[in-house]
Symmetry: C2
Subunit: 401 residues, 2 copies
């Protein structure tokens, strides 16, 4: 009996992986190790940032009102009251008609509300000629203008960029609460597969998928665990899947590309749990199986690396996001104009590889089984299921690899 | 004597870092560890890919000419000659008027030149009714159609993506020649700086830059080495810079944001080598120093983390690319429409932070010293030096963070 049959839409498949994704637990890492990790809870500033009103330039702290109307021809003349050293306070306030030199980053003296850049003044003994008016707050960062103590500086679910790491540093977050990196078990099936280190004989192919899937998982922030090549044998497959499901947070099985093998993969998943999806209305990538063994999500990917990759992009990214709680999409897109007609079948979501040059997305036609189309393309254009194709000149969104 | 003065253009600064960048040596890593590394030399396929002509579907191997005109109403009738198992050869050829069942990935039997999908046939004992015509080569990958033995599958200087890893696997490249990851020494200077673990007192700020710069370096594929916070003291600075220059492939010093401190950083670099650039016509990021100590590139970044970040994006990326030989830019851009006027000064390249929503890039105005503008923006729009600003509605390219 074949379980193959009822193709589900891509959005339905995404919904299903969202339902079976089990959120990984949290752990703490040092700030040095937090780059690209997913934040497990909001982080709040432990201090006001900045903690004092400071100058952002080298110049003279003034009362802005004292500089009104100043210019090259009619400078304001202020009394010079001294210099502030970096990191220390002046002790003396700036009163009307006065100014104090302050370096970049220095504490703004009491009374001052703006800083005139050193380029715009001339110092003549005890007097300073201001040749440019400044507005209230100009060249100054006010106390807690960036973040106030207690403010959330970075939200739960964010994948931490170098800029976020900077904000966490400013907020005093030396130990960062992050989501544990999901462990993803990877199995390749197929009697025709040989390890990459071997030269394939006629009828054999190298196990490319273990590497493609593992490096995709790694790039997305998961930990790939390779379970190797499993022959198309029910007992071997059963034992590999149950071992992987027990040790990992999710399992990705690639291969089983012929109908018989797919059915075997589905049957083994069904024995140990349930099959939720057996076939997706996506091209390439139709022979995809979504299920679970116990509570561990298990997905059967197509055997062709190029097809498997589309399923990684379109479906598995959502599974991983469900496991880590990542809120913002990690997907980068760009707008382009389609350079050629793209035919498509209604009822099927097509992912067409394109190469983008100067804003023109040109389809990289070629059989979906070819690896070279994967490396020659910039990304894919999604043709929605309700479309019969896209015409030359259509503005499209390119999902960047 | 001030060394500050002659602002150079961004393109000139990029040219200078290109000149002083010393290309790192090569090393070998296993394919499992090669993700995101820079390929040190072209990799060639050690075999033909595929190594045999194979079916990409489950179906019947035929001579395409035998199916001409086949349809639902008038099927072609072919003689069934048996089944091929995965990974093995049939031994029997397909002669005119015959067909042989072949699974996805199976070897195409001699004589056949196309495969009819199983969905489009009906098998009746020894006869197979073909209800759809196939073209020559349809549903087949021919011998070495993807890559021929000896073809370059991946070029020197490429940053390896998961798709590239797949192609290297197919090419039998289990040990990958890559460029050594550059070691980047990171120094923060400033009497006002305190470690992130401390709560800053009035006048003090946390050393945010060490973390921002280190995580940027890490994200770009370098190895950050932190040399900590150095007081604004000439001897301390001299000793830190010479130690870092000796141990690392390049050194990034941040801080020295006041004119006096900048001059001191420049003077110390000058003593141990030469200062090539002291001030760039870029906003934010003007107070940037480019030089070298011995043969080690040393760059002085602005003290404000938000300004320093723009210099990392606009200048340091090029330094790192020069050190690794990366050929393709790692920079992601998107097209958008400017949602507000952006004023700019002629003669200065402005990097304006923008938040992009629905294709509209809205400037995130706010003082350049604020960290919150860095995390609230999607990227930056470059306003060229010869422009006085950009108007609402202008199509712009957003450099994504």
């Amino acid at each position: 009996m074949s379980l193959f049959l009822q193709l589900v839409s891509v959005s339905k498949a995404v919904e299903e992986v969202g339902k079976i994704a089990v959120r990984c637990g949290n752990e703490s890492v040092s700030l040095e190790d937090a780059l690209h990790r997913i934040l497990a809870q909001d982080v709040h500033a432990d201090v006001d940032i900045p903690g004092f009103t400071r100058s952002v330039v080298d110049g003279f702290a003034v009362r802005a009102a004292d500089t009104t109307g100043s210019g090259d021809s009619i400078p304001s003349i202020l009394a010079f009251r001294g210099r502030i050293a970096m990191g220390s306070s002046s002790g003396i306030p700036v009163r009307p008609g006065e100014c104090i030199y302050v370096p970049t980053g220095g504490i703004l003296p009491e009374g001052a509300d703006a800083v005139v850049m050193i380029e715009n003044v001339e110092q003549l003994g005890g007097e300073v000629l201001v040749r440019r008016a400044v507005a209230y707050g100009e060249n100054v960062l006010f106390f807690n203008e960036d973040f106030a103590r207690g403010d959330a500086v970075c939200p739960e679910g964010k994948r931490l960029s170098p800029r976020d790491i900077g904000v966490l540093a400013a907020a005093g977050c030396t130990t960062v609460p992050v989501v544990r990196m999901p462990k993803i078990g990877i199995i390749s099936t197929g009697n025709e597969l040989v390890p990459v280190s071997k030269k394939p004989l006629p009828g054999q192919v190298r196990d490319v998928n273990s590497y493609v899937v593992a490096s995709f998982v790694q790039a997305e922030g998961g930990i790939p665990l390779l379970f190797g090549i499993i022959r198309d044998d029910r007992n071997a497959l059963r034992s590999a899947i149950s071992r992987a499901a027990a040790e990992c947070d999710a399992v990705l099985i690639s291969g089983g590309s012929s109908k018989d093998d797919r059915d075997m993969v589905a049957a083994v998943i069904g024995e140990q749990g349930e099959v939720l999806v057996h076939g997706i209305a996506i091209s390439p990538g139709k022979p995809t199986i979504i299920g679970r063994c116990g509570t561990t999500p298990v997905v059967g990917l197509p055997g062709h690396p190029a097809s498997a990759y589309i399923v990684l992009i379109a479906i598995i990214r959502h599974l991983l996001a469900g496991m880590t709680g990542e809120t913002e999409s990690n997907i980068r897109v760009m707008q382009a104009t389609l350079g050629q007609n793209v035919p498509s079948s209604k009822g099927r979501e097509d992912y067409v590889r394109v190469a983008v040059r100067d804003g023109i997305a040109t389809p990289v036609f070629g059989k979906s089984g070819l690896l070279n189309t994967l490396v020659q393309s910039t990304g894919v254009v999604r043709v929605p299921a309700d479309s019969e194709g896209l015409e030359t000149g259509t503005p499209v969104e390119v999902i960047l690899w």
